[in-house]
């Protein structure tokens, strides 16, 4: 498997799985405007996933397109972060998860615009504009909830406590990451981590939220070792293609 293929899958799967998670809110949002906001963001993410997975298919050169990569792989072949597959929980969990992800995606796309891989650079250039809106939206919600009522603060803090263990995986520099960085294809994850920390610190400070002391960290998604939740997502995501192979509409 080529490194560029696998690296592009990582990016594409993050967008695909988080996009799917957000789409689960469709018709269930706490207010109509928020329902529409989450599905709009889901649409952007699924659009990014389409570009990324189509490109991954091209790089692989085995006649798989974005659709077949999205719908016809097994769970171990998905390379998304554990963070994005975590269940929606309450609105606090959804927004804190979104914020932690957006705060990582924005500096990633900013730097990836200079990637030596022109296709990844152009996908980053396109996606960055949307990601800025996403980050603004999720940041504002985290602050509203954290610095809101006693109940909203409690829920936001619980969401941070629940999700924090999945954040170290965002910045793990494994063999693939360092190879891609050496080739000038992927940005330096250490720089992105610095930016991420700054954003998280600033928003948490305003939100009166604290980073949990417990240092337990969970990772594995990048290597296809997922939490139990991914299987349920794929069951729904892949249902039509599994039940009616090659169907189109």
């Amino acid at each position: 498997m080529s490194s560029l293929f696998e690296y592009t899958l990582r990016l594409g799967d993050d967008s695909l799985i988080l996009g799917h998670r957000l789409s689960e809110w469709c018709g269930h949002g706490p207010v109509l405007e928020e329902d529409i906001a989450m599905t709009n963001i889901a649409l952007d993410l699924v659009g990014q996933a389409t570009s990324l997975l189509n490109y991954a298919g091209e790089v692989e050169g085995k006649e798989r397109d974005g659709d077949s990569l999205a719908f016809l792989r097994f769970d171990r072949e998905y390379k998304n972060l554990l963070l994005v597959e975590q269940p929606n929980g309450d609105f606090a969990i959804t927004m804190v998860r979104q914020f932690l992800f957006d705060a990582y995606r924005k500096p990633l796309f900013e730097r990836m615009q200079n990637s030596k891989d022109t296709m990844l650079a152009s996908i980053a250039e396109k996606s960055l504009k949307e990601t800025r809106y996403h980050l603004k939206h999720s940041s504002e919600w985290v602050i509203r909830m954290g610095d809101g009522t006693e109940e909203s603060n409690r829920r936001a803090q619980e969401a941070v406590n629940t999700l924090w263990r999945y954040t170290s995986e965002l910045f793990i520099i494994d063999e693939l990451e360092s190879k891609m960085a050496d080739q000038g294809i992927s940005p330096n994850l250490m720089e992105i981590e610095d930016d991420w920390k700054k954003t998280v610190d600033a928003v948490f400070k305003e939100a009166t939220l604290t980073i949990p002391k417990n240092n337990w960290k969970q990772s594995g998604g990048r290597n296809g070792m997922h939490s139990e939740h991914l299987g349920y997502i794929l069951t729904e995501l892949q249902y039509m293609q599994r039940a009616y192979p090659n169907m189109k509409w």
Partner: protein, 161 residues
Amino acid sequence: MVSEKEIWQLLEQVSDPEIPVLSVIDLGVVRGVILEKGMCKIIITPTYSGCPAMKTIEEDIILKLKENNINHVKVDLVLSPAWTTDWLSENGRDKLREYGIAPPENEIDKSVLFADPPKVPCPQCGSKNTRMVSLFGSTACKSQYQCNDCLEPFDYFKCLK
């Protein structure tokens, strides 16, 4: 043999499926027309990554050209340079306003949290006394606003830069 100019003129007749008052030219999504070896290549770019209208736009372009006996058409999607609302034509901005959608105003800095949303005049009565209901609206490219004077809700074609 059909000329490039004629193709551009035909594309003026292809409308955006979500905002039919705009042509794909007004919207600024057509980036180029290339005629070579009997093939006509049209280069388009999406407004948003997940814009569901792109597939329809591609099909509508092919259909429109076919109606005019231009049969060898290929539509290519490119992402860079990325579309911005600056590419909306002046003509397009007027058409939007007439249609009841407020055209994009100047950019607000998205890094400033809780910044005042852009002041958008009501496309119905022209009042500047309006408020943003939601940053996200009926399609990816719009926000939801309401006029405090005539009370009409309206779409705002939000700035993307």
